[in-house]
Symmetry: C2
Subunit: 428 residues, 2 copies
C-alpha cells in the first residue's frame, strides 16, 4: 500500500533537554536559560526547516524535569513564529471540556490557525494525587470520558458559523446570534450548554492528534483524530499498525487520507556512521542506573525495578492496569526476543523509549524514513531529537535537506495553517 | 491617612473594544483584526507609558463580545513585551487549583516574573451551564472553595526552595529533591499532593489580585491578596473602603502596604473640557436601549428589565443571590439618590459600570486621581479606557505625562518584575 500523498509530514517532538534520558548531562545542554528561551530557539529552527509542527507533551504532575504548561508556552511561541504548527497535549481525565476547548481555540486564534490538540487520558498515580483521587481512573472509564470530552470540545469548536460576525456599527448589530449555536450537550460525564466564547480561526478548528494504541484508543482515533502519533519499533509492526488504522478509518466512513499516521523516530545523525555511533555512545555513557531504572519502570507500567539485579533478566510482571499496557507489551517482547538484561533493556530505551531508532548518516536515516513512507508504514514522522539544540539541529540541517533533495519534503510553506501543512481539509 | 508610597500604581484594564457598552460602534474601533493584534498594540502602548500592568477579565461563558482566553493571550503578549506586568482573571469555581497554579506559574516563567492572578468566584448561571450545573454555586460555598483554592495554589507556588536546581552534570544530579516540597494538602474541597511541575520565576510567585466587596470577599482579600481592584463611585466611599481594608490587613498581621488598593477609573479625556464632553456624548449617543438594559440587568444581579418602561423608575428588586450584591446596592443607591429613570441609570453606567468616572482635561483627571491618592482613597488606579485604541491613548499620552510631571508616576521602569513595579516584596 502506497502512501497517498507524495510528501512526508514532519513534526518535532520537543522536550526541555531532548529525548535521551541523559540528555540533560550532555555537555551542550543549556540548563540555565528559562524554558521559553530554549523552546523559542528550537521552534524557530524548526520553522526555518519548514516542519509541519512542533509538539509538546504534558503531565499534570512532576514526573520528569520541570517545565512550563504547554498551551501557555505555545501561545508565547505563536507570537515569535508565523507558519509552523503548534501542538500540545491536554488530558481529558482531569480537565473540563469547556476549558480545553477555549484554550486550544485561543491558541488557534492567536496563531492564526496553527493549533493542534493531542487528546490523551491520564494513567499515572502521581497525576491522580494532584486532583483529589487516591488512584488513577481505570482504562475503560478514562476512554468513555475521553470520547464524550472530544465530542463536547468539537461541538463547541463548530458552534460558530460562517457569517456570525455582522460588524454592523450603523445598524447596532455585532453578531448574528442565529449563527452562534448553543451546544446543549447532555451526556454521561458532561453537560455543557455553550456556545464557546472564542471565535474560530482561519483553519476552522484545531487539529486533533491522538496516540492511543489499545483497541479502545485505536477506535477513538479512527473515529475522531486528524493525526496519530505512534511508537513502532520495526517496519513490519508499523505496516501492520498503519493497515489496521486506515481500515478502521474507512469503517468509520472517513477517507483514509483524513488520518495522518506518524510514528516517532529517534534519530542520532552524524556526518559519518562512526560519528553517529560516537554521539550515541556519549549519551549512553551518561545514563545513571537510577535514572535508567526509573525510566524503564515507568515505561513498563509503573513498576519499581530497583530490587532486581541490573544484569539479570526482566522479572515476570503482571499486566499493568495503567495506560502503558501497549508499551509494556512492546518492551517485554523486545527483552524476551533478544534475551536482554534489565540494564540492556533500559539502555535500549534510554533514547527512543521503544520508538523507531536509527543511528547513522543523513542518507541512512533518510533511507529508512523513505522506506517506511513508501511501504505503507507512515504518512510522516514525529522527530524525537536526542538533545537540544544539537540533536534537533542534526536532523534539521542534515536529514531534512536530504529528504528535500529526494522530493519527499517541502522546501517552503505553501499554506499558513496547520491543516494546510498536513494536507487536511479545513475544519467545519 | 496618607498613602504610604509616593507614587501611584497604574494598571490598564483592557477589553476587546474598550469599556463603554457602545465602544464597538465607535468609528475608530477595529472590529476586524484578530484579538491578539488588537491587544498587542494596546499592551505595547501601555508598556511605553511604564504602566505597572495590564489586566484582562474573564468569563467562562459567552457573556459579551467573544475573545480569547486571557492566560493564553497574556502568554503571547509576554513574548512581545519585556517589562509590563500581565494580570488575568481565573475562576476558582470551575477550575482545579493544580491547573491554575501551573498556568500562572507558566506565565510567570515565560514573562520572567510579570504574572498576576485575579482570583474570582463565578456568579453567573451561563457559566454554571458550561460545567454541568443547573445553577451557579451560592456565595458562601463559592468563597469557602475559593479560600482553599488560594491556599493550594499558593502552597504549590512555594514548593520550590532556593537551590532546588543543582544542575550538576558531572555528578548526575539535576535537582535537590529535598528542596522540591510536596504539598500534601487535604481540605474540604481539595486534596492535592504536589509538587508543582513548573519552576518559580524571578519574582518568586505571581501577584494575587482580588476584587470581592462582600464581607467574605474583603476578608479573603485582607488575608491573601497583594492587590485589590474595587468599584467606588465617590471619594468618601473610596476612603471608607480603603480604611476598612487596611484595617483588616493589619488585623491579619500584615503590613498595610502589603495590599495595594486600586479603584477602577473610567476617564474620558480631551484637550479641553468641551472636547472630553463631546467624546463622551458621541459614545453615549451610540447606546442601543437593548444593550443598555442588558448591561444594567447584568450589573444589578441578573434581572430582566425589558418589561419596564425605559423612562420610569427602577422597580424594587429582591436582593440578588448572585455575586453582584455589592454592585446592586451601589446602583440602587445611585438611582434612588438621584431619582434616575431606567434609561438614565443605564446611561450612567454605560461607561464605567459604577466605577469612579471623570470627564475632563488631563489636568482635571490628574487632579482627581491625585486627590484620591493623597487623601487615603487609593494606592493607585485600574484604568478603564472607554475605547481601544483611542480611549487608551488619551490616558497614556495625556494623563500619564501629567502625573509624571507631578512626580506621581514613574518615567521609567526600575525593576523587571510585577512585584517590583507594585512595590511588593518578592514572593517566598
Amino acid at each position: 500500500m502506497m502512501a497517498a500523498r507524495k510528501q512526508l509530514s514532519l513534526t518535532a517532538f520537543l522536550m526541555r533537554h531532548g529525548h535521551h534520558v541523559a540528555a540533560w548531562r550532555h555537555p551542550d545542554t543549556d540548563l540555565v536559560s528559562p524554558p521559553f528561551e530554549v523552546y523559542r530557539d528550537a521552534v524557530q529552527r524548526a520553522e526555518r526547516a519548514c516542519l509541519d509542527a512542533v509538539f509538546l507533551a504534558d503531565s499534570v504532575a512532576l514526573t520528569g524535569a520541570p517545565s512550563v504548561e504547554p498551551v501557555t508556552l505555545l501561545s508565547a511561541l505563536a507570537a515569535v513564529t508565523s507558519r509552523i504548527g503548534l501542538v500540545a497535549t491536554a488530558t481529558t481525565t482531569y480537565n473540563e471540556p469547556y476549558t480545553v476547548a477555549r484554550q486550544f481555540a485561543s491558541l488557534d486564534s492567536i496563531s492564526n490557525g496553527r493549533a493542534g490538540w493531542n487528546l490523551v487520558t491520564s494513567d499515572n498515580a502521581a497525576e491522580a494525587a494532584n486532583f483529589g483521587r487516591e488512584r488513577h481512573v481505570d482504562h475503560a472509564a478514562r476512554y468513555a470520558r475521553a470520547r464524550e470530552f472530544h465530542d463536547v470540545v468539537d461541538g463547541l469548536w463548530q458552534g460558530w458559523e460562517e457569517g456570525a460576525f455582522v460588524n454592523d456599527k450603523a445598524g447596532g448589530r455585532l453578531l448574528d446570534s442565529a449563527k452562534v449555536r448553543r451546544l446543549d450537550y447532555r451526556g454521561e460525564h458532561f453537560a455543557v450548554s455553550g456556545p464557546l466564547n472564542v471565535p474560530p480561526s482561519p483553519q476552522g478548528k484545531p487539529v486533533v492528534v491522538q496516540a492511543g494504541s489499545s483497541e479502545t484508543g485505536r477506535e477513538l482515533a479512527a473515529a475522531t483524530a486528524d493525526v496519530v502519533f505512534t511508537a513502532q519499533a520495526t517496519l513490519a509492526d508499523a505496516q501492520a499498525f498503519y493497515r489496521d488504522m486506515k481500515g478502521r478509518v474507512e469503517r468509520h466512513g472517513r477517507a483514509p487520507d483524513s488520518l495522518r499516521i506518524m510514528p516517532g523516530i529517534f534519530a542520532v545523525v552524524g556526518t559519518s556512521e562512526q560519528e553517529a555511533q560516537d554521539k550515541f555512545g556519549l549519551l549512553q555513557g551518561l545514563i545513571e542506573p537510577g535514572a535508567g531504572l526509573a525510566l524503564l519502570g515507568r515505561m513498563i507500567g509503573n513498576f519499581d525495578l530497583s530490587g532486581y539485579p541490573l544484569d539479570g533478566p526482566l522479572p515476570d510482571l503482571p499486566v499493568t492496569q495503567d495506560g502503558q499496557r501497549s508499551r509494556q507489551q512492546l518492551l517485554t517482547a523486545i527483552a524476551q526476543g533478544e534475551n536482554l538484561s534489565i540494564r540492556q533493556l533500559y539502555e535500549r530505551i534510554a533514547g527512543g523509549r521503544g520508538h523507531f531508532t536509527v543511528i547513522g548518516t543523513p542518507e541512512q536515516v533518510a533511507d529508512q524514513m523513505q522506506a517506511w513512507f513508501e511501504s505503507g508504514a507512515a504518512d510522516g514522522f514525529n522527530l524525537m531529537p536526542p538533545t537540544l539544540p544539537g540533536g534537533l539541529d542534526d536532523v534539521l540541517r542534515l536529514v531534512v535537506p536530504e529528504l528535500q533533495r529526494r522530493g519527499l519534503f517541502r522546501t517552503r510553506y505553501e499554506g499558513t495553517t496547520l491543516r494546510s501543512h498536513l494536507g487536511l481539509r479545513e475544519g467545519k
